[in-house]
Amino acid sequence: MIKDITIGQYFPGRSILHRMDARMKIVLTFAVIVLIFLCKSFFSMGLMVAFVIALVFASRVPLKTVLKSLKPIFFIVIFTAVLNIFYTTGGAWTISIWVLKISEKGVFTALFMAVRIICLVVISSLLTYTTTPTSLTDALERLLSPLKIFKIEVHTIAMMMTLALRFIPTLIEEIDRIMSAQKARGADWESGSLVSRAKALVPVLVPLFVSSFRRAYELAFAMECRCYTGGKGRTRMKQMKLRVIDFVSMTVTAALLAGIIMLNIYFDKVIA
């Protein structure tokens, strides 16, 4: 049961999106997310949806996997859509049912909100599907490096993130093992009151904490033995380099921006 949890949902592949520089991917993902909220007419939104669908196919990540990432937000989409339908007023027509009023504008706003949230989630999952957690943190380190002038240790933060990600599967395995060991001694956290169930977790949490500290010390020693002293003067095995593909994708995103602005100007805006 506990093994089914997936963290870091990298989907291995060699697609265009996989080969892009992680820094460029992060920046462009943010850009596209902003663009999603600029779409105000049916045509600009249509262009955006087409773009997102094209990206999904370009990533070569199975459609089923992408749709799975939408499952957890299904409720949020419905919730925002329903709220928007009833709370937005205006437009050409209004239907009243009992105390509820549905307006033309409300329907459009709800529709746009739903599509926006879905696009947003798909775009950001594509980022994590096509980028390994390590290159994501590497890229974040580089992108945040200007913060150094505020004396923020960007490298340390990135290293902490990398290590945290690295140890999640290890800890899950550890929990599994400790739980089995305590179950063998008759521990029971499947029955009883809430308090007794919470108490039953102590035999799992204490060994888990102890071994986490042990691992942390061992790791720190091992890193020091390899002369790790932090980010200063550290070079990388995999140099991050912007290639043609990154500049092409930047241009495509710029073109998308231009297209959305044009379509917003030439066609009626349906939401503010």
Binding site: S180, A181, A187
Partner: protein, 287 residues
């Protein structure tokens, strides 16, 4: 009637995914009361998966596990009964210690069995005695013990449940020779005194030869051999092909036989080897 028997026991990992593999496949074994069975096999041969079925930590995909002739999965009560009747001590059990004192930690199992305080006290002291933990250690924090003491405290935690069958997964892994001998001695002492059935998982052929009466060899999720120590260890070349090995002393005597010396092929412990050499040279001196 066997204490534990399995029929067609099969367990799959990653069921329904393209990565589906059988961890164990169609295991049929009978373990008699009072036996000490050694379980050997390569890493990933299914040893750990098998033993976790015997006390119901894992639920079989197919097949049954029977304890004294009753299917352990027949009811919620029977599964809990199996947990207490079959004591399972995992590999590196010292990582399961959690209580404030060694005493309380050993008492964790008996407490879960809902025994009376006097009975718990008796069992804790008896288990501590078996593993050779002195009374003054019992009030210490388990985290202040040495590595070997922690291991023995954890084993005592399982023994204190006084299970009919005790399963130990690599109880000597990562210990120095002295710690190893101590553990093996205490297993022997425990068995002689209680008459419990013991299953000992190990990849150390010497340990198995010293203690076990029968050996179960697992290879690629199936039972490759199951027989007396003699039967199994005499098939040295087959074991070698599985990436296993017979005890060093057995190999030496096989080598001596290859060189034409008339020594027995059935030597598994250093003590037996010593006797055999004495016999051989005694005979040689007479001739």
């Amino acid at each position: 009637m066997p204490v534990i028997s399995t029929r067609g026991l099969t367990h799959l990992y990653g069921k329904g995914t393209p990565f589906e593999v059988a961890a164990i496949k169609d295991i049929n074994i009978d373990i008699e009361k009072g036996e000490l069975v050694g379980i050997i096999g390569h890493t990933g041969s299914g040893k750990s998966t098998l033993i976790q079925h015997l006390n119901g930590i894992l639920k079989p995909e197919k097949g049954t596990v029977m304890l004294n002739g009753n299917d352990i999965w027949s009811s919620k009560q029977s599964i809990r009964e199996a947990r207490f009747q079959v004591g399972l001590c995992f590999q590196y059990p010292e990582y399961q210690l959690f209580e404030e004192t060694v005493y309380k930690d050993i008492a964790f199992g008996p407490k879960n069995m809902k025994l009376g305080d006097d009975e718990i006290d008796r069992r804790v002291l008896a288990a501590a005695e078996y593993v050779g933990l002195k009374a003054d250690l019992l009030q210490k924090s388990p985290f202040d013990l040495s590595g070997g003491e922690k291991r023995r405290a954890a084993i005592a935690g399982v023994m204190a449940m006084e299970p009919a069958v005790l399963i130990l997964d690599e109880p000597t892994a990562g210990l120095d020779p002295r710690g190893r001998d101590k553990i093996l001695d205490l297993i022997k002492k425990y068995r002689d005194n209680t008459g419990s059935t013991i299953l000992l998982v190990s990849h150390c052929m010497e340990d198995i030869a010293r203690l076990a009466s029968r050996v179960l060899v697992l290879e690629n999720a199936v039972v490759a051999m199951f027989g007396s120590v003699q039967e199994v260890y005499s098939r040295g070349t087959e074991l070698f092909d599985m990436g296993l090995n017979v005890p060093q002393v057995t190999r030496i005597f096989a080598g001596l036989r290859d060189r034409g010396l008339d020594v027995s092929a059935g030597i598994y412990t250093v003590e037996q080897g010593r006797q055999e050499l004495l016999r051989f040279f005694g005979k040689g001196a007479k001739a």
